[in-house]
Symmetry: C2
């Protein structure tokens, strides 16, 4: 990441891989042909990577038992990706997936222990992380390890504090680093309450100072879409806004990975999705520190599976029958355009508070806040384009 | 069960099957050869049956998805039993196993719903039960289905009331009955708080009136062993006591299955285990309504697995290396002797309260209560044998 401009020009483009058959339950019955077919879909869009989500408690059903076959199954998926020219980010602690928490029996009910604070659980997690990274790091196409998908969703079921969460992540990210190749990214993944929620026990600084990149997840159902609808500037600039916030809460030149971006119903109606994609990617792509865009997600969820929030079912670029949706083609073209787009920054605005030093001030930058609205207004261009203003740190005078 | 005396003479003898390799995690990687070897051990003791414990959330990871391969794996274990002359009881909702609760993500955290009271969860459970029973009932050697192992351990993690628990069990036991063969037993399984704990939201009547037999689980770590040690009459008559209590809380001639009986450390030291077995089986075998004894458990737990309560590791009749322990041979001989032993009942004693109508009075019959001590004293014989007194219902005068 020495050459920021080059990294940006080589904007990574990929998908969060949600299997079309049986969702992530497919890990229990790995079907090579089904996975290969899904990865063919993804590769057909010109993507260069996927992010994959092994399910933790099925791999480590006892704290001292990591199933060799389950690890081999993850390796198989990685290698199927390699055969199609796809690099792979492996997320380790799932953990949280589309509203469902997968937690092993050894941290539940009679064995209830916070995964963030219990020392024995920590020892088990560290061993799990080490085992998986040691086993998978040698795969040439693994380019990143994420500690776990949006691990802050595992709170409040698991008690923690801001200090405890940070120390937990530092320790486990260190375990990844110690066992990964030097060229593999180590990534921490949090949903955006880390930037917006005053009492949230995971901080913006966790995003911007832990691991090798700042990973941001842009979901406009967080209140943003209610500001100005599916195609309004606040909504379609939200990904860029998060990327700029990351820059303001850490080193200004630290790489930002837009690790999740989606067009959720009903916030973004299906017929508005392609336009939402074009505007969103154009705005985010104008952030020079952005190194990659990874769409959530590759495939829809089969409606024979139940209990998902309604908005989770139709997030795929492809249907469960492997048909590319209009948003998929719009995304492909938008990312290609973003690689050569202007990344000049005409405007800047300072944070209204030091939300790293004073997390209780985070509501001041949340979607709909005066600051957020001012940022959006500053970025709007008469020609309908959006030039995401730089956000600079709080300057108290 | 028309001929009680005959059923008693044909006392069933079996083991709760705990796999020697990987404990119940073995369901995730079924190893036919390893299971066959374990079942060979069990058959070598002259046992006629095993009770097996599929792990629910691995079979039904989504409320609307029962994994065909997982069901096939259960069938495989049943058939491996048949090849060795072993009948099989299939427990469905695990659920609770040796302190660990296995619960699917669709009843946890963001999807937290009581398995006992939520109507959507109920629909999912009924479907699960129906699918498994329909698939497995045709296997000739399946002689019983238990709704789930000690489902009352799933409370308090899942809220319930006595009425709700009973209605839940009635409904699901009905679903088993509707799909099982007429000659297959339908069984409800609760640990003994149903008889002893005043506030427990599962009642003695659940044991004695639901399903086809009263299933009792005798664990002397419930306080009994503290009365008079591993070989005292209170301790070694506890299984018989539960069987008699069942008779007093339901139809006097209803069959009783001693579905779990074990010699837990440190309550029963290893060198006392054979004698504990002899006395316990002799006392229980003197209860004429007893139809079977199923030892907990077949095999020890590999100490490389962690987080189990210490007493769970060494409960096996066999070590993880397939060596029969002294208690195993003592058990085989004791059951054989019980088949021809005297079942005359010289004494009887009335319950001190109607613990079915007034569950809050259950502490009056708990281990160590005046009633329990009186019952033990009444059963002791000068020759050291124990003749378990009949317990008759409370008679208010």
């Amino acid at each position: 990441m020495d050459d920021q401009a080059a990294a940006s020009r080589e904007l990574r483009f990929g998908a969060n891989y949600v299997p079309s058959q049986g969702w992530f339950h497919g890990w229990l019955d790995l079907d090579r042909a089904a996975v290969a077919r899904d990865l063919d879909d993804i590769a057909s869009l010109g993507m260069d990577h996927v992010r994959i989500f092994p399910v933790w408690p099925w791999i480590q059903p006892n704290r001292a038992h990591v199933r060799a076959r389950a690890v081999a199954d993850v390796r198989t998926v990685i290698q199927l990706g390699a055969e199609r020219g796809l690099d792979v980010c492996v997320d380790l602690l799932q953990g949280h997936l589309s509203s469902f928490d997968f937690l092993p029996s050894w941290v539940l009910t009679w064995h209830q222990r916070s995964i963030f604070t219990d020392p024995d659980v920590r020892a088990g997690l560290r061993w799990y992380v080490e085992e998986l990274v040691r086993a998978l790091a040698p795969e040439p196409n693994v380019f990143a390890f994420t500690l776990g998908n949006e691990v802050n969703n595992l709170w409040p079921a698991n008690a923690t504090s801001a200090d405890a969460s940070r120390e937990w992540a530092q320790d486990l990210l260190g375990a990844i680093r110690d066992n990964a190749r030097a060229d593999q990214l180590v990534v921490h993944s949090l949903f955006d309450d880390a930037f917006y929620a005053p009492d949230h026990p995971f901080s913006a600084a966790d995003v911007t100072t832990l691991g090798d990149v700042s990973s941001v997840h842009s979901w406009v159902f967080n209140g943003t879409s209610r500001i100005d609808g599916p195609l309004g500037p606040a909504t379609t600039s939200h990904a860029a806004y998060l990327a700029r916030l990351a820059g303001a809460c850490g080193a200004a030149d630290r790489p930002v990975w837009l690790q999740e971006l989606g067009a959720p119903l009903p916030d973004v109606p299906a017929d508005a999705a392609p336009e939402f994609v074009r505007h969103t990617v154009a705005a985010a792509g104008a952030v020079s520190t952005l190194t990659g865009i990874t769409w959530w997600c590759s495939h829809d969820i089969d409606r024979r599976l139940v209990d998902f929030p309604e908005r989770e079912y139709d997030l795929g670029l492809f249907t469960v029958d492997h048909v590319a949706k209009p948003a998929a083609l719009a995304l492909r073209d938008a990312v290609e355009a973003a690689r050569t787009a202007d990344r000049a920054v005409p405007q800047s605005i300072s944070l209204p508070a030091d939300i790293v030093a004073d997390p209780s001030a985070r509501s001041l930058v949340a979607p709909g806040s005066a600051f957020h609205r001012a940022w959006v207004a500053l970025g709007e261009r008469p020609d309908g384009h959006f030039a995401p203003p730089l956000i600079t740190p709080f300057s108290p005078e």
